[in-house]
């Protein structure tokens, strides 16, 4: 169901993002996914350190839908592969900008920590 977008929110309005929310946005950055695929992507990317429960995932999805950062797809991207009951989600333009802004914010924090010698200067 299409959700109403708030008019003219800036990405900075959403920062800082809660960790779960950021993870979901990141998992949608490289492609549309359904719920379980999001969970799996997050678990793989974090080597299993972060495993969202279904209830947490859908609480996040609901919030992201309502604030217009993601949208639900009306058609499935890969009908051959998937269960028709699944719902797929995609980053909106705003969602992508918010995720980028958050990533930028985090990297600035990281740079600060390095500059102060709290973390080693190189990876």
């Amino acid at each position: 169901m299409p959700r109403q977008r708030r008019e003219g929110p800036e990405p900075d309005d959403f920062l800082p993002l809660p960790g779960d929310t950021f993870d979901v946005l990141v998992s949608l950055a490289d492609g549309d996914r359904h719920g379980y695929a999001i969970l799996r992507e997050i678990a793989e990317r974090t080597s299993g350190r972060i495993r969202l429960s279904p209830s947490t995932l859908y609480a996040v999805i609901r919030r992201l839908l309502e604030s217009g950062l993601i949208e639900e797809l009306s058609e499935r991207p890969d009908p051959a592969h998937d269960d028709e009951r699944r719902r797929y989600y995609r980053l909106t333009v705003l969602g992508r900008r918010v995720a980028q802004a958050e990533a930028g914010r985090l990297s600035r924090l990281l740079a600060n920590a390095r500059a102060s010698g709290l973390l080693p200067g190189r990876r």
């Binding site: 169901m1 359904h34 719920g35 379980y36 969970l39 429960s53 279904p54 209830s55 947490t56 995932l57 859908y58 609480a59 999805i61 609901r62 269960d83 009951r85 699944r86 719902r87």
Partner: protein
């Protein structure tokens, strides 16, 4: 296999847990969540799988309340937006509710304080007052005599302890200015019957009947000793005798009443131990497990046995009254009537808001229909409308708290000092909760119905409704029923208020039999230690009367032994010469100075009043009132007859008959009364000064005259007699005022409700009215149509209300004075008032209906 079974089992549990979510959320995401859950289970096995299932289910439980809150927050946002948008409606609804909730919680708090809250005495339910009754003569609360107390003690098996007490007004000296104290003299068992712990020191020991010890009240301790604990062991001088302070009671201990400043042991003199005079009040503690009814049955049997043994006790009974009833019984009718009245106001307030909501529900059918068409479920919309209703009631409740504490404070401010029981009142949390709960429940009940109906609106209905073919007949009927119930409740209230106002007017008009205007009065008790000799007492009073007479502006001075418009003076059984039997109907006796009757303008009906000739050594004389003459000498002349006030007392010759007075106050009946001259029995303690001007202006001069004679003699408060009269009906006036305020509130709210209904009807029927006018109906016909609606509501509401009023009026007959509950005058007033209010409320809608211009209305459609 087992894994598939455990999988389906886990999925069932997970699906069940999903029911914790709001329905809309579950419908939106439940299926997806279950799919993800199952995927998650399939990717692991064994303990990991069980753990994953467990975590997922617990997460649902943790997350679900948050989702509910989100929905609620969303609804609240909408509701608050509505309040902002429809300010008029919201202010009317919230204000109405706040008023209802505030008043109700305030009055309920006071009622609870007196009727429900535990008394501040330990095991208070085991303590009871014991009164002597004389049903034949209509006495239900008389004192007892010391010999009778001993007999009760001897015969009772169910009562653990009896204590007796009596009031004294000793003069306190050597502690600042001399002053009159209010002291209770009680037998040492007193504090074992009315159990309480002292805050400092100890209470009477069983052996202290003869001891000169005193227990102080908290207030007295604070006032005179600054609350110092070293007070124990110090001495207070009462009537010049030293009493050692042994303890201080807590502030909550106010037995027998709140004005008591100290308790000292009762030491009956030898003659008091044998005297048959009724002078002691009794309080008893029942044995554990004994009910009041059992103890009452036993005491009644004892009274019957004593009555059979002694002719003098033949007509006497015994009544046990629980401490709670003793305290609250006189106020109970007023409190119940006021509570019921304020509850009526709250109900009307809630019904009014319900009516407003119903009207809005109907008005918003259009909006709702559109939202339904856009996919919102009926449940969701009903939930939102309900949230709006509950928000209004909630805001009303919050404001009601403020209203309530303000109302209690206001009650304390405007309450006359004689309504002393109110002084402990504060807003009671539980009563406030109760009032808010009642309002919220009404909000829920009346909010659900219109919301549900409104949420069911179909676009088709609404579009036709907008053409004026109203389909909200059900809503109209619903609102009409609401307004009828408002009218009924208002009728009930107005009718009760009418009866109370009529009673107050009667009480204010009642003939006292004496003239209180222009009279200053005050208590002046000579300490027996200083004024032991009767000649000394006599000399003091003679000098005082002479001095005060000389004050400019004074037109008369008299004195008596008892305060007028206070308690009845002591009474006693008596003997008439030539009649063998003692007369049990007690005769009260006042000792008065010579000018007493002239000063108070009490007419002499027969014989003469006291004169200078009635000296201590001359024939002992007595004056009786008309009722005594009529009762004991019917059709005969009592002048010259002799009577005595005790078996061994001297004979007194009747020299005059004076008119009856209501000397104890307007609401007391006339007793058999008598007067004796102070020259033969110098027991004066009350001064009466008459002036042509303002009596209060004389107070300072009178006080100075007293101190000229004896600088140490305290004078009680000098007040105009008329003020005492005013104070006496202050309680009644106060209740009447409150009830009137509630009645007016109820009327105003009902008028608003009726106006709302009619305005709504007229608006809904504009189309019909326009059609009628265009086919030849006159504005007069339209007026008739509107008035038919009004009279329908009015007649049914009035009939129900009057029927209810007749039923309840019997219940508060005890509060009425000089009027019957069924007074046709009062009912006629009620009907008139309600009809006037209804017509006023109908005026604007009716005028609006008559002004409908068919051309405009019909063209616009």
């Amino acid at each position: 296999m087992p894994s598939i079974r455990s999988e389906s089992w886990a999925s069932a549990v997970f699906k069940a847990a999903l029911h914790l979510y709001p329905r809309a959320y579950r419908e939106e995401y439940g299926r997806e969540m279950t799919l993800v859950f199952m995927d998650r289970l399939r990717e692991s096995s064994g303990v990991g799988r069980a753990w994953a299932a467990f975590i997922a289910i617990v997460s649902v439980m943790v997350d679900a309340p948050g989702q509910h809150l989100q929905v609620l927050a969303q609804d609240l946002r909408l509701a608050i937006r509505l309040v902002q948008r429809e300010k008029g409606f919201a202010i009317a609804a919230i204000g109405t509710l706040a008023l209802g909730i505030g008043l109700t919680s305030a009055v309920f708090s006071v009622a609870k304080l007196l009727l429900i809250d535990p008394l501040p005495y330990r095991e208070a339910d085991r303590a009871a007052m014991v009164w002597v009754t004389n049903p034949r003569q209509g006495f239900d609360r008389d004192f007892t005599s010391y010999p009778r107390l001993l007999e009760w003690r001897e015969h009772s098996r169910l009562i653990e302890t009896f204590a007796v007490f009596t009031y004294r007004r000793p003069v306190l000296t050597a502690l600042g200015d001399p002053e009159l104290l209010r002291v209770v003299k009680a037998t040492p068992e007193f504090f074992r019957v009315v159990k309480a712990e002292p805050v400092v020191g100890r209470l009477f020991a069983a052996s202290e009947e003869q001891a000169a010890v005193a227990v102080l009240s908290y207030g007295f301790w604070q006032r005179k000793f600054g609350g110092q604990r070293t007070v124990v062991g110090q001495t207070v001088r009462l009537d010049s005798s030293p009493y050692t302070v042994i303890g201080v009671m807590p502030p909550s201990f106010q037995f027998p009443d709140r004005g008591v400043e100290a308790w000292v042991p009762l030491q009956p003199a030898p003659e008091e131990r044998t005297s048959g005079a009724f002078w002691l009040q009794t309080v008893a503690r029942l044995k554990p497990g004994v009910s009041l009814a059992q103890a009452q049955a036993e005491m009644s049997a004892i009274a019957a046995r004593l009555g059979a043994e002694r002719a003098g006790d033949r007509d006497l009974g015994i009544a046990l009254v629980s401490l709670r009833d003793e305290l609250a019984l006189p106020l109970k009718p007023a409190l119940l009537v006021l509570s019921a009245a304020v509850l009526g106001v709250l109900l009307i307030a809630c019904v009014n808001v319900a009516g407003m909501l119903a009207a809005r529900g109907a008005d918003r059918r259009h909006e709702v229909a559109i939202r339904t068409a856009l996919g919102a479920s009926r449940r969701r919309i009903a939930r939102q409308l309900l949230t709006e209703a509950v928000t209004l009631f909630f805001l009303g409740g919050v404001l009601g708290v403020a209203c309530g504490s303000l109302a209690v404070r206001l009650l304390l401010q405007v309450a006359p000092p004689t309504v002393s029981w109110l002084r402990d009142a504060s807003l009671d949390g539980s009563m406030l909760t109760l009032a808010i709960a009642m309002a919220a429940l009404t909000g829920l009940v009346f909010g659900v119905w219109p919301s549900w109906k409104a949420a069911g609106a179909e676009v088709a209905d609404v579009s036709s409704a907008s053409k004026g073919v109203s389909r909200s007949g059900l809503s109209q009927r619903f609102r009409r029923t609401l307004v009828i119930s408002e009218v009924a409740i208002a009728t009930l209230l107005v009718s009760s208020t009418n009866l109370m106002i009529a009673s107050l007017l009667h009480a204010q008009r009642v003939e006292l039999g004496f003239e209180p205007r222009g009279v200053l009065t005050g208590r002046l008790q000579l300490p027996p230690s200083k004024y032991q000799e009767s000649t000394v007492r006599q000399a003091f009073w003679d000098r005082l009367i002479e001095r005060v007479s000389a004050i400019p502006g004074v037109t008369g001075v008299a004195a008596g032994s008892n305060v007028l418009l206070g308690r009845l003076p002591g009474s006693t059984a008596f003997w008439i010469e030539g009649r063998p039997e003692v007369i049990q109907q007690p005769l009260t006796t006042d000792v008065v100075s010579r000018d007493f009757f002239r000063l108070l303008q009490i007419p002499l009906l027969r014989g003469r009043t006291f004169s200078a000739a009635d000296g201590p050594d001359s024939q002992r004389v007595i004056i009786i009132n008309e009722t005594t003459a009529r009762t004991h000498w019917p059709g005969a002349d009592p002048i010259g007859q002799r009577l005595k006030l005790g078996e061994d007392a001297p004979w007194l010759t009747v020299i005059g008959v004076v008119a009856d007075t209501r000397r104890a106050g307007v609401e007391h009946s006339v007793f058999t009364e008598s007067y004796r001259p102070h020259t033969q029995d110098p027991e004066l303690s009350t001064l009466l000064v008459r002036t042509g001007g303002n009596p209060s202006a004389l107070a300072a001069a009178v006080r100075a005259a007293v101190h000229e004679i004896d600088p140490e003699q305290p004078v009680g408060q000098l007040v105009p007699l008329e003020g005492l009269l005013h104070d006496q009906i202050a309680g009644r006036r106060f209740s009447t005022w409150l009830l009137t305020a509630f009645g007016v509130s109820a009327l105003a709210l009902t008028a608003i409700g009726l106006y709302g209904l009619l305005a709504y009807l007229v608006a809904a029927r504009r189309h019909e009215i326009a059609v009628r006018l265009s086919v030849g109906a006159t504005p007069r016909d339209i007026l008739t149509m509107v008035l038919r609606n009004v009279s329908f509501v009015l007649v049914i509401g009035l009939s129900l209300g009057l029927a209810g009023a007749l039923m309840t009026a019997t219940g508060f007959r005890g509060m009425l004075f000089g009027i019957t509950p069924w007074s046709p005058w009062s009912q006629a007033t009620t009907i008139t008032v309600l009809a006037l209010v209804a017509l006023t409320a109908a005026w604007i809608p009716a005028a609006r209906a008559m002004r409908v211009d068919p051309a405009i209305v019909l063209r616009s459609e």
